[in-house]
Structures are given as C-alpha cells and as structure tokens.
Symmetry: C2
Subunit: 428 residues, 2 copies
C-alpha cells in the first residue's frame, strides 16, 4: 500500500482509478452458458455442476430431508448471532415501508403511487468454500417484508454436493424453501429464463464472481431487472488525528481480505496517523488467515496525505466509495457533506463489519463508483411503484384545454380527441 503526499487533483484522480477487468473473453463464455441453459434447461445445469463444481447431482432443489435437523446442526452461538442480525435488519428495513399518500392535485383530480411487491425474485448466494449466509439474511429479509410471492435462491453446492448448514438454517428461519444447488453464470441464466424446475423471476439480486456479474449484466440487457451493476468491493477511510490507528488498520484490512481485486483507500490530514496505520497493517496482516489475498489487494490500494478535511471529502465524493468510514472528530458534521457513497460509518466505533453483519443496514451496496447514481439494496429494491389517477368529469374539464393544446402542439390528434369526446355533452 503506497503513500502519496499532497498529490494534485489530477494525480489523485489517476491513483484512484479502479483496477479494470478485461471482460470480453468472459462475456463470450457467459453468453454460451446462457444459451446452453436456454436450450437444454435443467440438463445444462446438471452438466455445468459436474464441470464447474465437480459434483454429480441427482436433483437440483434442496430436498426436505436435507433440512432435517438443521436446527441442531448449527451451533448455538451462531444461531444467536444470526438472531441478533435478523432482528436488526428486520427493524431497519421495516422502517422503510412508506404510507400510501393520495394527492389531490385539484378538486376532482386525485393521483397516488402505491408500492407493490415484485412477484418473483431470485437471490444468488455465493457458496463453495465461503458460503455467505449473511447475504441471504440481507436479501431474504427485505424480500419477505416486501411480500414477494416467490423467492428463489440459487447457490453453488459444496464438493460433497451439499449446501452449507448456515445457509440452510437461514433459509428455514426466513421461510424460504426453494433453494437450488446451482451456481455461477448458469444460476443467473436459470433464474432469468426459467427451466423445468427453476421459475423465471422478475428481478435477480446478489453478489458473485466475474462470471455471475457478467451474466447478470447480460440478462439485464434482455430486460430482467437486477439489483445493481457490480464491481470489486472497496472502502475509503477518512481519518484525522482523533482516529485510532489500530481501528483504521483493521477496517482497511477487513475490506482488503474480500478479494485480490478489492481496493482500500486511506485519506488523512495526519502523516503521523498514516505511518502508524501502515505499521499496524503490517503487523496484523501476518496474523490473518487471508494474508495472501490481503497482500495482493493492498497493491491496488493507497494512503493519501491531504492538507485539510475538505480536500479529503472532495476526493471521497469524486471516488464515490462503496463503504466510507469517517474516523474524524465531528463525524456527523462531515457526514453532511457526503454526496456520493454507498454506506457511511461514523466515528471510531462504527466499523464496516457492523454494517456487513448486524447493525441492521444492508450490505449489498453499489461498488465501482456506481454510488454516484445507484443506491444500495433496500426494501424499495423488492417493490415497484405503480401510479394511479382518478379524475371526475369536472376534474378532467379543469385540465382539458391544457391537454388538448399540448397534444395539438405535439401533433398527437388522438390524444386530444380522447379528451374532446369526454367534453361533448351527448357523450355522457
């Protein structure tokens, strides 16, 4: 992790460029996987499972017997941890429900928007060596609150052909029964197109590797909605003298351990702090099991010494980080100036891992600078809003001339006529 002292704006923009991935090769392979699933359905899924997961499955769906005794297979400590997370995620996402508000535009013209659950949603949960049951909590809970009728989960099987107990436990806890042992691009294809056993869904959620990401992008171009575009995970920490170097170091490391393409950025007004953080990073990295990943992702990373906090905020808003930690005095005041970020963590006791697991906020967030235009997953992500309007005859009369004049100017006769016929006396 290199340190840059007082770089110019141009230098800063250059050094904050995200690692780019050459995706053409992947794109073509993913397209051929999608076509296989389209033409061969379940058969293709069994074949891919053999090829990519090294597993010969006899059925795709997790059978009822596999759920047997799942309660006792998960340690008590983990169950109560999941319980804490579930309670908090539930509370935060339930608070996002909005009241239906009918607006009386004028006497006789009433308009409103109503949130309606997306009927069928598909959740992709990464599995294999590191089954992300936390992601199932983050996606399954708001899907349930929204009231989605059908929730389909796809997750790759482990080498033994099974799904991790933690995932099955969370699925049971959330009342989700359709879990399919399908991973990778083929899982996205199956949920987007439907197969004999997997229903076609309206929207697909969840993180994944480059294959999954590319497949989501491709099916999105066919018209299947996705949660958001994806890219490598990242954190930016703004820290001043009040920051604790150990805390900052471990926050940076907890992002760096995600994957070799992760990026972590430290911006500080204090050279001393930067130096102390670097020392702590070196010391801690040796203790961590994922140190090889960490060492690689730190190569994409940077510490930047700046003149003042406003400069730091400017850089952060330009970068639009997925996670932003404000380890500064008066973090609330600084937070007011943040305009581009996925999720913001205030002060010394709000580590990213709080939001990743258990504070209640969602951990599915816009990466790769997409935070400038996209929001993280929320209850809204599982609903769409339908507009309604109800006009009385006299209500329509109030705006009839306006509509007729505008339609006329745009050359749309029939639009005008639809109003005119409703104004004629003998048409009641």
């Amino acid at each position: 992790m290199k340190t840059y002292k007082y770089p110019t704006i141009e230098e800063t923009k250059e050094l904050l460029k995200r690692p780019t991935i050459e995706s053409n090769v992947i794109q073509e392979k993913v397209l051929s996987i999608i076509n296989e699933v389209k033409t061969k359905g379940d058969k293709a899924l069994f074949e891919f499972s053999k090829k990519f997961d090294g597993v010969s499955l006899t059925q795709l769906i997790v059978g009822e017997t596999e759920f047997n005794g799942i309660e006792s297979k998960v340690e008590k400590k983990l169950k109560s941890a999941i319980n804490v997370a579930q309670t908090n995620i539930n509370k935060f996402h339930k608070a996002q429900k909005s009241e239906l508000l009918k607006i009386e535009i004028a006497d006789g013209i009433t308009c409103w928007r109503k949130s309606v659950p997306i009927e069928k949603v598909g959740l992709y949960i990464p599995g294999g060596t590191s089954p992300l049951f936390s992601t199932l909590l983050m996606l399954g809970i708001p899907a349930n609150i929204a009231g989605c009728k059908e929730i389909v989960v796809c997750t790759p099987p482990q080498k033994n052909g099974k799904i991790a107990d933690s995932i099955l436990y969370v699925a049971r806890l959330l009342g989700i029964s359709k879990i399919f042992k399908v991973g990778g691009a083929q899982a996205i294809a199956a949920m987007a197109l439907g197969t004999e056993t997997i229903s076609r869904v309206d929207k697909i959620f969840g993180p994944g590797n480059q294959w999954v990401t590319a497949a989501k992008q491709i099916v999105n171009s066919f018209g299947v909605a996705i949660d958001m575009p994806a890219g490598p995970s990242e954190v930016l920490v703004i820290a001043d003298d009040s920051a604790n170097p150990k805390f900052v170091a471990t926050d940076l490391l907890s992002q760096a351990e995600h994957g070799v393409d992760s990026q972590v950025i430290l911006i500080s007004t204090s050279e001393l702090l930067i130096n102390l953080v670097m020392t702590e990073i070196d010391r801690y990295t040796k203790q961590l099991s994922r140190n090889e990943i960490i060492e690689k992702s730190l190569e994409n990373s940077a510490a930047i010494l700046v003149n003042n906090l406003d400069e730091a905020i400017g850089i952060s808003n330009h970068y639009a980080p997925e996670h932003l930690i404000l380890s500064v005095e008066n973090a609330e005041t600084v937070a007011e100036k943040i305009v581009n970020a996925g999720s913001v963590f205030l002060g010394n006791y709000s580590p990213e891992s709080a939001g990743d697991y258990a504070s209640g906020t969602n951990h599915t967030l816009p990466t790769n600078g997409f935070a400038s235009a996209y929001s993280g997953v929320s209850l809204d992500s599982f609903m769409k809003k339908i507009t309604f309007q109800n006009l009385t005859k006299s209500g329509l009369q109030k705006i009839a001339i306006a509509i007729e004049t505008m339609a006329d100017t745009e050359g749309l006769d029939a639009h005008k006529l639809a109003v005119t016929v409703r104004s004629e006396k003998d048409n009641d």
Copy 2:
C-alpha cells in the same frame, strides 16, 4: 385489430406476445457510433449531425441568442397549458419527498438513509418533426425538485438547425440552460462519455427510437445509470358494460398513434361493447392525421372477450401494461387487484392523455412488460439513497459477539478483528 372470444390462458399468452425487434444489426451500428464519439468527441457529433439530421452546425450548444424573445414566440394558449401541466407535475413530484428518518436500532446504534440528488443528469428529448416538450417537463421538473447540480439536455436539431420553440420555452421556464443540438445514439454516447463541450453525466433519462434505446442499453452496461429499459409504448383497457365505447376507442387510438410498433389491448366482459368500440375505432381513424401509423399498430393489437372481470385482471397482471385504463364500475376496487402496471387510470374520465400531459403523474413509464419489476420515473429516479450508521462504544458492544461469530463462520478474520480491537480495554 382482431377480436378473440374466450381464448384459453395459453392462447391469451400467445396473442399478447409483444412485437419483437431484431436488434443485432442496430447494436453493431450503435457501438460504432459510440466509439466514434469516444475517440473524436465533438467532431464526431458535428459529423453525425450532418449525416443523420442533414444539418451543418457551427456550435452544439444552443446559444443565448437563440433563447432571445422565446417568451413571445410561444402562443399564449400553449404557455398557459404548459403552466397548468407544470403546476400539477410539480405538486405530484414534490409530494414524493421523504423525510429523513433516523432509526434507533438499539441504544447506541443509530442507522438512517438519506436521499441525495444525483449530481449530473442527462435528459434526452426526442425532436425533429415532433419535439416532445412534454417530456422535458416530465424529466426537468423532478430533476429540479431533487436538486441535481447539472442538468444536460440533448435533442436533435430540426432541418433548419434550430430547436423547437416549445422546447426552448420549457427549458427557460425550468431554468435549464445546457441544451445541446445532438440526437440519436451519438447524444447518449456524448452524455455517457463526455466530450469537449458536453459533460459526462451519472444517469441518462428519456425516450427515443431504437437507436437511442440501444445506445442507452449499451452505456448502461458500461455502468452509466439509465431511467429504465425501453420498448414500444402500449395501453391495455379493461372495460365492462358501463364503459363508453367512444371513450374506449379514443383511448386505444391515442396509444396506437404513437408509433407503428405500439400495441393496444382491449379486454372486456361485453361482446356488445367490443363491437361498438371497433366501429368507433374505424370511424375515428379516418379523421386522424396519423391514421397510417394507427392502421399499422392496430395490426399488433387485440380485443379479447372474457368471462368475467377477474379473468381480465389476471390477463392484465400477466401482460404488465405500461398504461392500464379501468373503464369499469367500481374501478377503485378493481385497482386494488392490480399488481403489474406502469400507470393506472380509473373510471370513464381518466384518459391516458391526462397522465401523458397534465394531471401531474409522470409519463415516463416501464414498457414491454418491465412494469413487473420497474417503476416509472419519479423524484426517486433523480436521487440515490445513502445509508449512514453511528455506533457508540457501548452500542458496538451489544452486537460485537454477533459480528465476531458471523465473520468467523464466513472465514473473514479481519472483519472479526475490526470489532475485537475495539473491545480491547487498552485501545480506547
């Protein structure tokens, strides 16, 4: 427009298939246009303007002199019509503002989401023979309410190299000054990538032809946000005996006149009504200036006779129409059962053209069945929500074990460590 009597569910699904467009050829051409804009910037835009619009421009931006006296160039009647529309659109979209709500998850754990304007937005306004100033109202007003810092408008020039007065008038009215004489795929490319004179934007809005649509889809795959995927416009009318055949006929026609690929669907429990509507359609079509377009789009269209209202609702929810008109008794009760639609019009006096122009609702809506997962444009479309969290030391302690346990199970040591170091006594 064909009539189908009591088709089976399978037959109905088949006849409601939307006209599909072969897009591979367009895709390639659009990609080459995007590449031209990428490498040559403004120069490419001038060239495309000559090639596609038949106009030799000397500058891309609409100059201040072109706005001169714009107030007096627009008829008084149109100005007051625009004023009515502006007032109502403003009222409906302002009501969509949401209060910031801080949630106390537990003592010492506070989480909230804040709506923040997307900084730079690009609005594409179709021009040429039919300049859609109404679309500028529909996009510019919520962009202003959201507080977007930079609003860029691209619209193709007319044969005389100018932009229609109605568009310039609305732009001035909304305080939008950056209007560029650029249309088609090249406009989308310019806003997505930026050129010497056109700023790169974070999100692109607006309808357009197949070229514009394809370009939006491509730049979206690069990570530039777009309002929604697009397809041909459509209306579905559910009508019973209480409906007025003239009203239903003109509603269907006002959709049919949009373009040759538009689709209009009538579903009714009354064979008599269907017959009367067909007669009215034939009669009115002859009077309408866009009758050639109408005749073509009616070929993609259908009237369906069903046994009861629930069948009609089922078909509509399957089809997920952009516009849905409920010309039925007790429209409010029927509306409760609608789960997939862009915008719903209740009763005999809520024609689609009311929502297209002046009732206050937005007319940028999900087509092509996308209403099953997408919402129409609203204030939200111009904002993103950033999540914040603020934990005190004791707040973090409450969930520390939960985080540590979950991180441990997922094999993410550093995530765990970031919490553990904050619990150690000597790290305060």
